[in-house]
């Protein structure tokens, strides 16, 4: 039993895509642009060449926000989506009939269609690979040159993520959607 969350020291990101490759290799994600559990949003510099406005923190990591109030879970007509004992939004693969309601419902574009398994897929914190083997972190977290991600149990006061969230300011994506994400972006 845990309540897993992730914090992002997002300004450290250099957009090297190591996290994306590690995720694909670990979790057997299909090749292809629209098939990924995580991605980086890169904001390009603006202005003309000699007066470029660069954004040092312009690389932002995206993946399933593991909402406490998850729109996808409510949207599924087949009750195929559930929250597991660690607070991770999961899917009963056999129940998914690709209604795609979850994809439409997710404000974060976190889901995509896995054309091999005929399900919608998204980040589940490596819960059926690494975590199930007793490992303590995700593929994207461990490989990162900058260690942008901090993964852990939000209910454990002594976890690194809890410590960081006590110490630093952070924000969530699309707070107006009232989804209560368990992903936190460190200011």
């Amino acid at each position: 039993m845990a309540r897993y969350g992730m914090a992002f020291d997002y300004k450290l990101c250099i957009n090297c895509h190591a996290c994306e490759v590690a995720c694909k290799e670990e979790n057997g994600i299909l090749l292809g642009a629209d098939k990924h559990r995580l991605w980086i949003e890169a904001s390009e510099p603006v202005g003309d060449f000699y007066n470029l406005a660069r954004d040092k923190g312009g690389f932002l990591q995206h993946q399933c926000q593991q909402c406490e109030n998850a729109p996808c879970l409510k949207a599924c007509p087949n009750n195929a989506i559930y929250r597991d004992e660690n607070g991770i939004i999961q899917l009963y693969e056999s129940k998914c009939d690709l209604s795609l309601n979850c994809i439409d419902a997710c404000p974060y574009d976190a889901r995509y269609v896995d054309e091999k398994k005929h399900i919608t897929d998204k980040c589940i914190f490596c819960s059926d690979t690494r975590l199930s083997r007793g490992e303590t972190t995700t593929a994207c977290q461990i490989t990162c040159p900058a260690k942008v991600r901090i993964f852990g149990d939000l209910d454990d006061k002594n976890s690194e993520i809890s410590k960081v969230l006590r110490k630093r300011e952070y924000f969530s994506l699309k707070p107006e959607k009232n989804t209560k994400p368990k992903l936190f972006y460190l200011a």
Partner: protein, 774 residues
């Protein structure tokens, strides 16, 4: 609260920028990577990565004899518990279905890709017949065989075989198309090549390097993680490193030396330099001072050369010299302009003027862990001639030579003897050096070309015999010593057995040695008078044994045995055990290595890092030898260095994306999934005038060639400069992913050489651009 709107669809349809994704073509290829790792307990074997030249450490998760995941190794001080995208995608290099699987002998014309599968013995037999004929014709001049190597590991061992045992003087490596000017400039100026202490610096100037895309560990990681460090990037292009910098100063290509000279001028004139240090360590300081001040390298002068404003140059210099631990980062690859040696030397002098040598945050000397050499008995061949590629070059690397000079001398007939055979290991000559047509002509001269590689590269397609080498995940290599500040040993273990009929380099050379030993000895008996003398004196068997003619001598024992013997003997049993289990060892590792936070580690306590060592050295302002050869003994600007362009031309610059540093990586299905191809960066305003839109196919022409490539209009490049990345545009149709994908920079780049180290100059080619089609 910050609100960021993002839509996956929008993201995909948006600017291609650095995220051009592969479409259906790659999605149809092997779903090897589309299997997730299992839940079961299994072995994790430590290995060292080989996707680029850098070497990071990892653990391979092996399930039922198959590598299913590569994870970073937390014990290695150099790579600091990380693997980059290339490192992660190493699985797809191992299981690349295009891999070379069996020995092959050419049956068609050179370059047309027709080969037949043969046994290893047939391949060796073919090589033997050809080599015997060549050495016979050339009267045992062993240097008629040239050999080259582009891979970091096993290089010395490869040299021992072809140089030491077979006796050729003609070894070439990547140094002369990479970093030899930087190594040389540092060595000649402060007596050592040193190592930058990026983590310890509070102010870094980075020019001629792109550390967030061409990753070098630990430098790249240390830059990201260092807090309170100011980073100023000098680059003609707004790279990712520039985006992440505190300040980015765009500069005219090839004029970084002018910036450096102005910084030296300001430091001397305003007396910003570290006087105590200069007094203690500098030779010919007054000469330098007089030269720089008299040359009037003012900030205003540098502005006219570089386009960086005089005010900014003044401020940069003051900030640098008033920082506590300033570091002018020396870069690594590549040689950008003809003045590259002087540019790198000026950088070293700036560091020295700031006192940033042999101290925290500067260029440190440190102390690498010394590995003993495995000595071999090398024959002496009296008919073997010396190398010729350093003629006309002031210094040059006696080890790895000069590719462009070597090639030129073979082509223009000024080589003192013919070179008829070439052994090429993991060195993609047909893509890696300027002016590929000349490389092709050079290869066409050869009577025998043997390629050792893992994939059918463009160069392999020119070979007579192709020998499939195992990838780095399939072999154990000899233990290697890394780094000086936080030194360690690291061992590449075998994670899985070699696939197909591939063999490790040692096994290949052992087989070749066994096949060649007697036939080549007989050639020497025929032509080598000194050998004939010793046979008279001591008989054939003793002359053979004493002379060291057994080519396979080094391979009496397999690599595991050799590693075990060498490591145990020098560092003890525990060190060997640790290297096998953790992949890394250094003294006191168990006490020193500890987690700091969030899977980041400390490797050495602060007081054990070798920031400063006790060593006598001098900072050489003036180098006599350069003067004697008619070159500048001190960094000097020449009018010919000015950045000028003929009408309607653009300066072509090259570089790297983080997913593709080596040409082999462009055939990697996973990396191609992240970025599909390369594009030419062209200034967006200029593109508009030329009616070039994103995704248009444009034709690029230089004096030596033309390519077609997709256009990427962007504000991240100057109006008079264009850029595209290296490694693409492979012509080998055996490479499903890389073949015909994108453009090859070296089709366009003219072969210009700097004369201090004989290095190829990469960024001095002007091109014309026009839209070919939409």
């Amino acid at each position: 609260m910050k609100k960021i709107e993002i839509s996956r669809r929008k993201f995909l349809q948006g600017s291609v920028a650095l995220c051009v994704y592969a479409t259906s073509s790659s999605a149809t290829v092997i779903p090897k990577t589309t299997t997730k790792t299992s839940t079961k307990e299994t072995t994790n074997i430590p290995y060292l990565c080989n996707m680029c030249r850098n070497k990071c450490a990892g653990f391979a998760r092996v399930e039922d004899g198959i590598v299913t995941k590569l994870n970073p190794n937390q014990y290695f001080p150099k790579s600091r518990n990380m693997l980059c995208p290339k490192g992660n995608a190493g699985i797809d290099a191992l299981y690349d279905r295009d891999r070379l699987k069996y020995p092959l002998i050419r049956i068609g014309k050179r370059g047309d890709g027709k080969y037949k599968r043969v046994t290893w013995d047939e391949a060796y037999e073919y090589i033997k017949d050809k080599l015997v004929k060549i050495f016979d014709e050339q009267k045992d001049n062993r240097s008629t065989l040239a050999y080259c190597n582009g891979e970091g590991f096993n290089k010395d061992e490869y040299i021992k075989f072809f140089g030491g045992k077979i006796g050729s003087a003609n070894f070439l490596d990547e140094g002369s198309i990479c970093l030899n000017t930087k190594l040389g400039a540092t060595l000649l100026t402060i007596g050592d090549i040193g190592e930058p202490d990026v983590a310890g610096s509070d102010f870094i100037i980075m020019a001629g390097a792109n550390r967030y895309e061409s990753l070098i560990t630990p430098d790249s990681i240390d830059m990201i993680k260092a807090d309170k460090q100011k980073l100023v990037v000098i680059d003609p292009r707004c790279t990712v490193t520039a985006i992440k910098a505190d300040e980015w100063l765009p500069i005219n290509p090839g004029t970084d030396l002018a910036l450096c000279l102005a910084m030296i001028y300001i430091a001397l004139k305003d007396e910003l330099y570290n006087k105590e240090y200069v007094k203690k360590y500098f030779d010919d300081f007054e000469k330098l001072k007089k030269h720089i001040l008299n040359s009037n390298y003012t900030a205003a002068w540098a502005e006219s050369k570089t386009t960086i404003s005089a005010t900014k140059i003044e401020k940069l210099t003051k900030d640098f010299f008033s920082a506590k631990k300033p570091l002018f980062y020396l870069g690594r690859r590549s040689v950008w302009a003809k003045n590259d040696f002087q540019f790198r030397r000026a950088m070293v002098l700036i560091n020295a003027l700031a006192g940033s040598i042999n101290t925290k945050g500067g260029i440190i000397f440190g102390q690498p862990i010394k590995l003993p050499d495995e000595e071999i008995n090398q024959p002496y061949y009296s008919n073997a001639q010396g190398r010729f590629d350093l003629e006309g070059i002031v210094y040059g690397s006696a080890k790895g030579g000069s590719w462009l000079n070597f090639r030129e001398k073979l082509l223009n007939g000024t080589a003192p003897y013919p070179v008829k055979a070439m052994f090429i290991r993991k060195h993609n000559l047909m893509q890696n050096m300027p002016n590929i047509q000349k490389t092709k002509k050079m290869l066409e001269i050869m009577d025998l070309i043997v390629v050792l590689d893992t994939i059918p590269s463009d160069t392999a397609m020119m070979a007579d015999v192709i020998l499939p080498e195992s990838t780095y995940l399939e072999r154990e290599d000899m233990v290697v010593s890394f780094n000086r500040l936080e030194p360690s040993l690291a061992l590449r273990n075998q994670t899985v057995k070699p696939l197909y009929e591939s063999r490790s380099m040692q096994d290949i050379l052992k087989g070749l040695g066994n096949k060649l030993t007697m036939p080549l000895f007989e050639i020497s008996m025929k032509y080598d008078e000194e050998l004939q003398e010793s046979i008279k004196e001591m008989g054939k068997i003793d002359a053979f044994e004493d002379g060291g003619y057994n080519l396979s001598e080094l391979y009496k024992h397999d690599i595991s045995t050799r590693n075990k013997t060498l490591i145990t003997k020098t560092f003890g049993k525990e060190a060997y055990k640790t290297l096998k289990e953790k992949g890394v060892w250094y003294p006191n590792m168990n006490n020193y290595h500890k987690e700091i936070f969030n899977n980041s580690y400390e490797y050495y306590p602060e007081d054990k890092k070798l920031y400063t060592i006790n060593r006598k050295y001098r900072v050489k302002c003036y180098i006599d030898k350069l003067d004697k050869h008619g070159y500048d003994a001190m960094p000097t600007w020449k009018d010919s260095y000015d950045f000028t362009l003929p009408d309607k031309r653009f300066r072509l610059i090259t570089g790297r994306y983080v997913m593709f540093t080596q040409s082999a990586t462009t055939n990697n299905i996973m990396l191609r999934d992240i970025m599909k191809t390369n594009h030419i960066w062209i200034n967006n305003a200029v593109a508009k005038k030329l009616d070039i839109a994103e995704g248009d196919i444009v034709e690029i022409k230089s004096n030596i060639g033309r390519v077609e490539i997709l256009a990427y209009p962007t504000n991240k490049i100057a109006p008079n400069v264009v850029f595209f990345s290296h490694g693409f545009g492979s012509s080998s149709d055996e490479l499903e992913q890389a073949f015909g994908n994108g453009a090859n920079d070296n089709q366009l780049i003219e072969d210009k050489m700097e004369n201090i180290y004989g290095c190829a100059v990469m960024n001095e080619t002007d091109v014309q651009i026009k839209k070919a089609r939409t």
